[in-house]
Every structure is written in structure tokens, then in C-alpha cells.
């Protein structure tokens, strides 16, 4: 009987939403395997693992200490691997976040196991079968795990966290004292924009149609009107230096799956569509009625964005009370 291990992610001592998603996905897989769901949580002294049973964890192993308050590759990997080797785990799950994309391969390499990255569906059919987008979402790969164990990183915003009460028994484990060859010495918070384009429930993206970098103010204003939206950008405007790469949506930027995506002044090049086609609702505003973006948009407005945006911003402000 094989179990499942979820490696959780915290920031400032709070477990992040993507980890609730990992627990939810892990619970479903553990049930299919007839096993238990365990979790590893590494974080600052005094971090609480209470309440994680609500998301389906049978047991949570906590390694807490001030040396691991923020992500440190070596001890985080060592803590996860120590647990993974102490039990019979068919899979180790974590979120495909900046942390997960760095930590996941470390765990897999140390376990000599395959890694399945940025997974959007997990099933059990005589073995673990996953779906994952490749070519930036232009195709979907189905992979079957043939080895004894594997590491799976799940795409954020894809598995909806579901409460499913289990024991959530907490056990304290030591912080590994592996000598680090690399150390995180600082985390510089970016100014203002707290929401990351890959994680935000609403993304407002702008492209060449804005004509000048200053006109991105319209994009920022619409994002502010929603309140919980992040600003995104097309490759053209990032390459032109108007916007930072962190905001780029598309094949050489971020792949996003928000509840609502606005493409404003973006024609819809293949590489851009690849990055946002899994958004739940897509709105496009473009002056060219034949722009490819309208082929994937749920709702379109044909017109000059400089005329459409001001009344749209006002209407959203009213609707949201912002």
C-alpha cells in the first residue's frame, strides 16, 4: 500500500494556497492508491501545522527553525528527501511555483526518480498517469509513471482546494544540518504590485496596441479597479523594454490560468495564445476585427482601446465598489 507525500510551501509562516491545492490533489491520489497522505512543512520557529488535516493530510512532519525561515535549497531538499525515504511513497507532490520549480528537481535527483512538472491532471489507472501541457500549452502530454516513485509539481490555480477532514497529526522532525553550497541571503520585495501574474485570479494584459509605454497606466488602472488583478504583457512590449519580463505571458514568459483574462491591444500571436488559452474566461479588446485573439476570446469588443478603456475602468470600479 503506497502513500503520497506533499511538500508544503510557506511564506512568513503561513502555508500558501498552492499547498492546499497540492494537499487536495494528493488526497485524491492517496485515496485512489488506498494509502495515506503525509506532508512535510519546513519553516520558521513556531510555525503551525494546525488545521492542515482539513485539507486531507493524515500526518504532517514539521521541521522548524530560524535557519530555514525562508527557502534554502539544501535543508529544504534534505528534509523532504529524509521523509520520502522513510516511508513508502508512490509520489511526492508540490506546487509548480518559483520554490517548487527549484526544489522539485532537487528532490527527484536525490531520489533518482523522474519529475513530472507543471501537471494539470493526475489519475490512477494501473499506475499514476498525469497530464501536463508541453510546447507552452500547444499540446498535452500523457505520461505514465513506471518506476517505484516520482515527483510531481502541480500547476497553481488548477486543482481547486477542497476541504476533506483527516487526522492531520503533527510530528516534529529535526531541521537537516546539511552544509549549504548555496544560500538565499535576501528576498527583495518588488514595489507595489503584490500579485504575481502566474498566481492572480484576474490578469489584465496589454500589448503593442497601447502604442506607448506610458499608456500601460490604462492597464494598471483596470487592474486596480478589479482590486485582485495582476498586470500582464505581451512579448512584443517586453522585448521593447516597456515592461519587465516578470509580466510576460506566453511561450517564453508565464503560462497563466486565471478566472478572467483581458487581452488589450494584443493581436494574439501563437506564442501568446499558448500562455493564456487555459484562462477560464477571456476578454479581448482590439481594433482589428480579424485579430487571432478573437478566435479564443469568450467576449470581444472591436474598437479603439483608448476609447473603450476609460468607460470600462469606470464600470468595473462601480461594480466592484473600488
Amino acid at each position: 500500500m503506497a502513500n503520497v507525500l506533499a511538500v508544503l510551501e510557506q511564506r512568513d509562516g503561513s502555508v500558501r494556497r498552492v499547498s492546499h491545492e497540492a494537499l487536495t490533489a494528493g488526497r485524491a491520489l492517496a485515496d485512489a492508491l488506498g494509502g495515506e497522505l503525509h506532508a512535510v512543512l519546513v519553516g520558521p520557529s513556531g510555525i503551525s501545522a494546525d488545521g492542515l488535516g482539513a485539507w486531507g493530510a493524515d500526518k504532517v512532519f514539521v521541521a522548524a527553525g530560524d535557519t530555514v525561515a525562508q527557502y534554502q535549497p539544501a535543508p529544504y531538499a534534505a528534509a523532504a528527501v529524509a521523509r520520502a525515504q522513510a516511508g513508502d511513497y508512490a509520489a511526492v507532490l508540490l506546487g509548480a511555483t518559483a520554490l517548487g520549480k527549484d526544489l522539485g528537481p532537487r528532490i527527484a535527483a536525490r531520489l533518482a526518480a523522474p519529475i513530472l512538472s507543471d501537471v494539470t491532471a493526475i489519475a490512477h489507472d494501473g499506475g499514476i498517469v498525469v497530464h501536463r501541457p508541453v510546447y507552452a500549452g500547444k499540446a498535452i502530454q500523457q505520461l505514465k509513471v513506471t518506476g517505484k516513485t516520482c515527483v510531481i509539481t502541480i500547476r497553481p490555480n488548477n486543482f481547486t482546494p477542497a476541504e476533506n477532514a483527516h487526522a492531520g497529526a503533527v510530528e516534529t522532525v529535526p531541521v537537516p544540518d546539511e552544509a549549504p553550497r548555496a544560500r538565499t541571503v535576501a528576498v527583495k520585495e518588488s514595489d507595489g504590485a503584490a500579485l504575481d501574474v502566474a498566481e492572480a485570479p484576474i490578469v489584465i494584459s496589454g500589448g503593442r496596441g497601447l502604442k506607448e509605454p506610458e499608456h500601460f497606466k490604462l492597464i494598471e488602472d483596470l487592474a486596480a479597479a478589479f482590486g485582485n488583478a495582476a498586470v500582464g504583457a505581451s512579448r512584443a512590449v517586453v522585448d521593447a523594454g516597456w515592461r519587465p519580463h516578470a509580466e510576460q505571458v506566453g511561450q517564453t514568459g508565464k503560462t497563466v490560468s486565471p478566472n478572467l483574462y483581458f487581452a488589450i491591444g494584443i493581436s494574439g500571436a501563437i506564442q501568446h495564445l499558448a500562455g493564456m488559452r487555459t484562462a477560464k474566461v477571456i476578454v479581448a479588446i482590439n481594433k482589428d476585427k480579424d485579430a487571432p485573439i478573437f478566435k479564443v476570446a469568450d467576449y470581444g469588443i472591436v474598437g479603439d482601446l483608448f476609447e473603450v478603456m476609460p468607460p470600462l475602468i469606470d464600470a468595473v470600479k462601480n461594480a466592484r465598489g473600488n
Partner: protein, 250 residues
């Protein structure tokens, strides 16, 4: 400064993906293959660091079929000194298998730094570089958009949600490149001519078995074409109404 760069041959970003008859791969007909976008940043960074150091070597490694020689030549045309192709029928589906093969080749190379792209724009694994670091037991930093190397130590910055992480590490190390690390140079005609004469070793290798099997490759479900709500600012109320009552996102 002795630097290794791992590169991969991938379909260009403008590729319209069609599934091949085997149901497991893309139809390569009409597809243009290029040096992986993120690997270009890795090659450029290696060349810059060698130039700064004033001496050293940039060696390029690829895992793939014969056609990957062309990819290595692109890196040589940019200015790398030599290339090695670890020749297999096709790159493996399991990133650990790829990392094992590359790590075995790099192990005794005496490299101060191993640079890779943060991911390949075909399989999106985002894993091989970091795995090479773990297999070699050396430091690694992934998705790096700023890198400084001095006195046997490195400082890297990587984007995380809502900020930048600053990482310090000792050499030797693996660094995987994010877009924004630099502006890759275009190979000049002279570089392209010189690349033809640079050493490119082809080593047939046998890959490990790995722990995953590719079952199928399919196209994503088509999105239902939506509707145009109108033209210009007059369409705004219809949009607000649709977002509120149909899509229920407002």
C-alpha cells in the same frame, strides 16, 4: 574560467503543433528547429564571463539526435570554443535520464561553471540543470536573471512571486538562465564561417531506463469561439453584463 553550456534543439516558438501518426510526438514536417531560447541566454552569459575573465573555454554539450549538431554549431557561431554531442535516437521523456547522461559527461570536465537554460520550450520540464547540480553534488541556482561571478563565488538573483531572491554560492556551480539575464548576440558571418572549423565531438551513448513512459500527445481542447459584443465604448455595458451574469466573474 572553464564553462560548460548545455543546449537543446527545439521547435521554434512560432511552430503550429500537429500531432504525428504515432500519437506520441509532433509532426516535424515544415517545423523550424532552433537553439532553445533560454539556452541562448546561457551561451551568451558563458561568452561574457569568459571575456571578462580574459581567458578560459566555453564548451557546449547537447543530448540528442544527429540534427542537434546544427544546434551546437549555432552556439559555436556565437563564439563558443568546442562542442560535444551525446548522441541518442531522441532526447528522453524523463528529465532525470537526461540529467544523468549530461552529469556523467560533465563530471570530470573540470568546469568552474555549468550554464543551462531554465527550461526547454518543448517539454517545459524546468528540471535538468538543477538535477545536474544535485547529481554532481555542487551548488545550483535556477531561473537566474542576474549573475555575478568573482573570486570563486557567485551571486545570483532569481524572480519569485512578488520579489527577487538573492542567492550566494561557491564554485563550481550550475546556473540556469531566465530571460532578461542578457541580450544574446547574433552569430556574425565571420562567426558562422569559423564555427565550421571548430571541434565538434560526437559520442554515441546509451540512456538509462528512466521511470516514466509517454502514453500519448494530444492537442488541447479547442476553445469555443466566443462572440463580439459590439464596437467601441458602446459595447462596455454589454461586457459588464456578460461578465456578471453569464461568466459570473464580476
Amino acid at each position: 574560467m572553464k564553462i560548460a553550456v548545455c543546449v537543446k534543439r527545439v521547435p521554434d516558438t512560432e511552430t503550429r503543433v500537429k500531432i504525428a501518426a504515432d500519437g506520441k510526438s509532433i509532426d516535424e514536417g515544415g517545423v523550424k528547429f532552433v537553439l532553445n531560447t533560454y539556452d541562448e541566454f546561457a551561451v551568451e552569459e558563458a561568452l561574457k564571463l569568459k571575456e571578462q575573465a580574459g581567458s578560459g573555454e566555453v564548451a557546449v554539450f547537447a543530448l540528442g539526435g544527429d540534427a542537434a549538431q546544427e544546434t551546437i554549431r549555432t552556439a559555436l557561431a556565437m563564439g563558443a570554443d568546442r562542442g560535444v554531442l551525446l548522441k541518442v535516437d531522441a532526447p528522453p521523456a524523463d528529465p532525470f535520464v537526461a540529467a544523468q547522461a549530461l552529469a556523467a559527461e560533465l563530471k570530470d570536465g573540470g568546469f568552474d561553471l555549468i550554464l543551462c537554460g531554465k527550461l526547454a520550450i518543448d517539454d517545459y520540464a524546468h528540471a535538468v540543470g538543477t538535477m545536474i547540480g544535485e547529481l554532481l553534488g555542487i551548488a545550483s541556482a535556477s531561473a537566474v536573471s542576474k549573475l555575478t561571478i568573482a573570486d570563486g563565488k557567485g551571486t545570483a538573483e532569481r524572480e519569485v512571486e512578488g520579489g527577487m531572491e538573492v542567492i550566494e554560492f561557491s564554485l563550481p556551480a550550475v546556473v540556469t538562465a531566465e530571460k532578461g539575464l542578457n541580450e544574446p548576440r547574433y552569430p556574425a558571418l565571420k562567426g558562422i564561417m569559423m564555427a565550421k572549423k571548430k571541434p565538434l565531438e560526437v559520442k554515441p551513448i546509451t540512456l538509462g531506463a528512466g521511470g516514466i513512459e509517454l502514453v500519448a500527445l494530444t492537442l488541447p481542447p479547442e476553445r469555443q469561439e466566443g462572440r463580439i459584443l459590439g464596437e467601441g465604448p458602446d459595447a462596455v455595458p454589454a461586457l459588464i453584463e456578460a461578465l456578471r451574469t453569464e461568466a459570473k466573474v464580476l
